[in-house]
């Protein structure tokens, strides 16, 4: 009755002639894969028997292009990697080049970097929760609340960096422009208002029986698999590994702020969802402290040359704790104006590799929720 359509009949035939083995391809145009991403799911009845992620639809050859353009020329392209968190990608790239060329960053620039990075984390986590609950079927309500808050943060980015999502704000040795008059007060206002949104979200969804039923025990990522698959960020911490690069590497001025790193024990979708909620509360604490202590002073190290900037030969790996996980840039310089090798460590792609293990044995409806809980952005997956 259910004819075994789909492109690869041989694979299903090999599995023995069973009733109702159905091959569904949740294709690139599927409404709930976050961007152009395909999953070939083999179902037996409702449960997933095999899942093969297929991506590469958004591959733009970012790393090869970076080998032809100057160091500065690649900076705007890092915005387009993970288009939800352009500032953290900028910072990771700037950090890598600063390690390569051994540049120092003035105090005010470090504070501005921390503030913008934490604001990016807030709006990214809000969006992720909105998308995930949209996949769960809540008709857009959580998404709209998340976007309402995100708009305020994007307005801050626009008045600081000039563009809402493609900020291109960090330079090697500091930030491009200083905060305009009144920006710090506006940022304090937005941050002060944020906990109200978090309480609203927690009340609306955290203890909601249907959300708990749909996400608890679904898509469990065991602790050792998370470590072996080198997952990072909320996906790793939900599986019980308390690893946060802000605490281990002590980059930027994070050691001046006291914030805690929430850790989950079950490693299922509900933990990943709640972890992001708790991380947002921690980010609000960091932001309040940073906005208080930000000193005056130059925003960029004056001696750095903008054009024909040629760092000494060598290699460097700069990484930071992005909202989706550890985003890193590995550069090999041969002394010329453009890097010899330019490699991005995309947290979305690496977290995605564990997707099949999480989905085996789950229902079709859960595949979409698990994908939502990993929080991938295809720009970063395909580069």
């Amino acid at each position: 009755m259910i004819d075994r359509g789909g492109s690869r009949r041989d694979e299903c035939e090999a599995g023995g002639e069973d009733a109702g083995r159905l091959e569904v391809s949740m294709g690139p145009q599927h409404p709930s894969t976050h961007g152009v991403f395909r999953m070939d799911v083999v179902l037996e009845g409702e449960t997933v028997v095999r899942l093969k992620p297929v991506f590469g639809y958004l591959h733009r050859n970012h790393e090869k292009i970076a080998e032809q353009t100057t160091y500065l020329g690649s900076m705007p392209y890092t915005d387009r990697l993970d288009y939800f968190c352009s500032l953290t990608s900028n910072w990771a790239y700037a950090l890598a080049v600063e390690k390569l060329a051994g540049l120092a960053v003035p105090e005010r620039a470090e504070y501005l970097r921390v503030i913008t990075a934490e604001l990016t984390r807030l709006q990214n986590h809000a969006c992720q929760m909105g998308f995930m609950l949209q996949d769960l079927g809540a008709m857009g309500t959580p998404m709209m609340y998340a976007f309402r808050e995100r708009e305020k943060i994007l307005d801050l980015f626009e008045s600081l960096t000039g563009s809402r999502m493609m900020c291109n704000y960090m330079r090697f040795g500091g930030c491009r422009a200083d905060a305009p008059a009144g920006w710090i007060e506006a940022a304090r206002g937005v941050v002060g208002d944020f906990p109200r949104f978090l309480d609203e979200y927690e009340a609306l969804l955290a203890t909601n029986e249907i959300v708990m039923a749909r996400t608890q025990g679904v898509g469990v990522l065991p602790r050792d698999l998370a470590i072996n698959a080198s997952a990072s960020g909320p996906v790793l911490r939900a599986s019980g590994v308390g690893y946060d690069i802000r605490k281990t590497d002590r980059y930027g001025v994070y050691d001046r702020f006291d914030f805690r790193v929430p850790v989950g024990d079950h490693g299922d979708c509900y933990d990943r969802f709640m972890l992001r909620l708790l991380e947002m509360r921690e980010s609000v604490k960091i932001l309040e402290a940073a906005l208080e202590q930000i000193p005056a002073g130059p925003v960029i190290d004056g001696k750095v040359k903008l054009r024909n900037f040629k760092p000494r030969a060598g290699e460097a790996y700069g990484r930071i704790e992005g909202p989706k996980g550890e985003i890193g840039f590995y550069l090999i310089s041969d002394g010329s104006a453009s890097p010899y090798r330019y490699r991005v460590r995309p947290p979305s792609l690496i977290n995605l590799t564990a997707l099949e293990e999480m989905c085996l044995g789950q229902k079709v409806a859960d595949v979409v929720v698990i994908l939502g809980s990993i929080d991938i952005v295809l720009g970063e997956v395909d580069r």
């Binding site: 009755m1 004819d3 599995g15 023995g16 009733a19």
Partner: protein
């Protein structure tokens, strides 16, 4: 082939609804609606699902719907219907008193009292039969998993090609 089968099932459902209409016209409103619920609501879906679940192989071959000796079947049916019809022609005295437009219709309250009154045993037994039948049907239809051989073929199933399939393929091979 499958298309005609599903059409059969749906037209059958329509005829059941027709019979329900007849009941209502005959004044037994409660019966008509009960028939509508039971047949159109439940049995029709049961039959259509059964058709879908058992049509895996027949999709391809276009076989005749009727068995080999269909002529005799129709003849016998015609004979029986003929006798009924003739018997009917000679009965007299079947005046009609009731009817929706005519006399008093069946009183649902009265039917209820009867069901709960004198015939409560029949009512309970009918319920019991339904439950037992339901459980039996579920057990019969449950796909129990036997241990699979290495090749993934079920242990109890004759390997492809021999046993029952061989005879059939042999028969149609030419």
């Amino acid at each position: 082939m499958l298309r005609r089968l599903v059409h059969c099932a749906l037209c059958w459902t329509l005829s059941m609804a027709g019979v329900a209409g007849l009941y209502i016209l005959a004044g037994a409103e409660f019966l008509g609606l009960a028939q509508l619920i039971v047949y159109v609501g439940a049995v029709a879906i049961l039959i259509v699902f059964a058709i879908l679940l058992t049509q895996r192989r027949e999709l391809l071959s276009i076989e005749r719907l009727t068995a080999g000796s269909w002529v005799t079947g129709v003849a016998v049916a015609g004979l029986v219907a003929g006798c009924l019809w003739i018997g009917l022609a000679y009965t007299r005295g079947l005046g009609g008193a009731g009817g929706a437009s005519g006399g008093p219709a069946l009183e649902t309250r009265e039917l209820g009292e009867l069901l709960m009154g004198r015939y409560v045993v029949a009512f309970e037994v009918a319920g019991l039969v339904l439950t037992v039948a339901l459980i039996g049907a579920v057990i019969l239809a449950l796909p129990f998993e036997q241990p699979r051989e290495a090749s993934g073929r079920r242990a109890d199933r004759p390997a492809a090609g021999e046993g029952w399939d061989a005879r059939r393929q042999g028969g149609q091979g030419a």
